[in-house]
Symmetry: C2
Subunit: 351 residues, 2 copies
């Protein structure tokens, strides 16, 4: 299997469904347009599912984890071992994403794409480790090109299998990886040709001096490697991360299966951008969960043509924003499928 095998399967979302979906939602017992964003989501869901009765009840969230050699440059406020410690926290159910998935009745899958730690076989983690973390991309490419392809394909296969076996109707993608905001800002800068000052922020909470260094590291790395903005695998191999490749594959799996995928913060939006370079039809299947505090995310969302559903000042990652937004998307589908029309309910229309 290679990436062309995936993109050959992805179809455009159903433009032909748009008018009928808008007519259906306008016939519901409410003033036209009065449910705002819920109506836009409901119409997009009809297009994605090619159906006037879309569902987003059967939900799963995929958290991809990996370590980053760039942490050696002091771009994160936390030490690298926090990646594996947090993965163990996920498996014990104590992290924010566990709490939000339990509340939202969302299945949670954790995938080790390249954490610098060997987890026990009974840890409950899906292990598709490409390497024990990326290399320091200020010095050399983060990974080899075949490794970059492998990470995307692995993410695709894992998510594709779950969508098919579990009959998932919506998925979200989340991340864990100390140093991965640096990698994501670099991907967004490389893909969109904008300087790191525009795409880089404080991650887990670095100070002014570290932020300046982080921006410089990213600008220098892009200058060193000269990634091709039209070649997602080139960008991923030079400044990316294994978990980001996995997330891009997960996004493509949703699009290939004709179901929606909810992006979370800057890391998943960088992955979404890579997926969209691999196949521009894939953005039709994406929702932006929330406006992240990480400023680079806005550039990625702009390029993908996505408007965030929530704006809660969040910057945690793990898929936490995606978990919350899935509830809103589910609600929007139910409005489309369950709500009565004026004629069904015998309610008078506008004067």
């Amino acid at each position: 299997m290679n990436i062309n095998d995936i993109t050959n399967v992805i179809k455009d979302t159903g433009r032909s469904m748009e008018k009928a979906a808008m007519d259906k939602i306008d016939g519901k017992t409410k003033p036209a347009g009065s449910l705002g964003t819920l109506e836009l989501i409901a119409v997009k869901m009809c297009m994605i599912r090619n159906s006037l009765t879309p569902n987003a009840e059967n939900k799963a969230l995929f958290v991809f984890a990996g370590d980053h050699g760039i942490t050696r440059e002091g771009v994160s406020a936390y030490p690298q071992e926090v990646t594996s410690q947090m993965v163990m926290n996920f498996m014990r159910g104590g992290a924010a994403i566990n709490v939000l998935c339990r509340q939202g009745l969302i299945g949670l899958h954790v995938i080790d794409m390249g954490v610098n730690h060997v987890f026990g076989k009974d840890a409950g983690i899906t292990v598709r480790k490409i390497a024990m973390g990326t290399k320091n991309f200020l010095m050399e490419a983060a990974m080899e090109r075949p490794e970059a392809e492998e990470s995307v394909l692995a993410g695709y296969e894992i998510v594709d299998e779950r969508i098919r076996k579990d009959g998932l109707e919506i998925i979200g993608v989340g991340d864990m990886g100390i140093g991965n905001t640096a990698s994501s800002s670099a991907i967004i800068s490389a893909a969109l040709g904008i300087g790191a000052e525009e795409t880089t922020w404080r991650g887990t909470g670095i100070d002014d001096e570290s932020l300046k260094k982080k921006i410089r590291v990213i600008d220098e790395s892009i200058k060193l490697h000269g990634p091709d903005p039209a070649d997602a695998i080139d960008i991923l191999s030079k400044v990316g991360g294994f978990e980001i490749g996995g997330m891009a594959g997960g996004v493509l799996a949703a699009a290939a299966n004709g179901i929606p995928v909810v992006l979370d913060g800057i890391i998943s939006c960088a992955a979404g951008l890579l997926a969209n370079i691999l196949d521009p039809r894939s953005s039709g299947y994406m929702f932006a969960a929330h406006r992240s505090v990480e400023k680079g995310q806005a550039h990625a969302l702009g390029a993908l043509g996505l408007v965030p559903i929530l704006d809660l000042g969040m910057r945690l990652g793990e898929g936490t924003g995606a978990a919350l937004a899935m509830g809103i998307i589910d609600a929007s589908c139910r409005i489309m499928t369950e709500m009565a029309s004026f004629s069904e309910a015998g309610v008078s229309g506008k004067k």
Copy 2:
């Protein structure tokens, strides 16, 4: 029972809990502040419940319905009979609020405070009808002062009983009443001393000409009646509605029972403003669900010191925004109660 009996019971929210709640949330396995608004909500919930383990799982939404004599001035896009038709739609489960309450596992209670229709005994509606709709407040007071008091007390009693009997942990208030954005804008203008142009918008969707008329009607009505901004019952009787009085009573019932109340759009925010005039401690128990398209809502929220959780371009009412926001508040409580701390999870702290 009178309104003083209620306000004598309401306590300040637990300021003493604030520091301990902030310390607790800062110890959770996440960068400090990275859950943004969820953290602010969690801390406020600790203060409201006077507990470091608050819950908002047992939820109910109260939709108060009433008709408005001001509709005779052509201030709404829909005919008055839509109020009773929509109440019937609620009882059959076909309205937007039914869909969202089912999804959010929120109990739904519909109260007829003054609909111009007599519902059958088997309709499942709680009937506390004060009159068959208000009078046209451009010509005369919307209701008598004792009727205004009665509406607040009725709302209080209904909600208070359900909170106690059902052990509710959070409530929302919603509305149904053709013409009630006009009444709500008038209440906000009267309470805050600002002209109708600043508080009035299109309601269910009136055109430019009708909007101009609506603004003029409200300004003239306030000039005619001269409601006392410090006297909520005076404002309610002169330009209010029976369902708005009921909602204000419901808000006070939440505060008196020490549980949070989620305001929805402009109508419930006008009711919240009245409740806060009756007892300024009550705003400590309020959450603002969402930013409504109705511009007067922002003035009410500003006066109450509330920031909306969601901004989804909604303007439907019924409590639809409150239903969605309750899920976010529930999630915030679970973050506080269920998420592991750094020490519990053995995760390294900041470098």
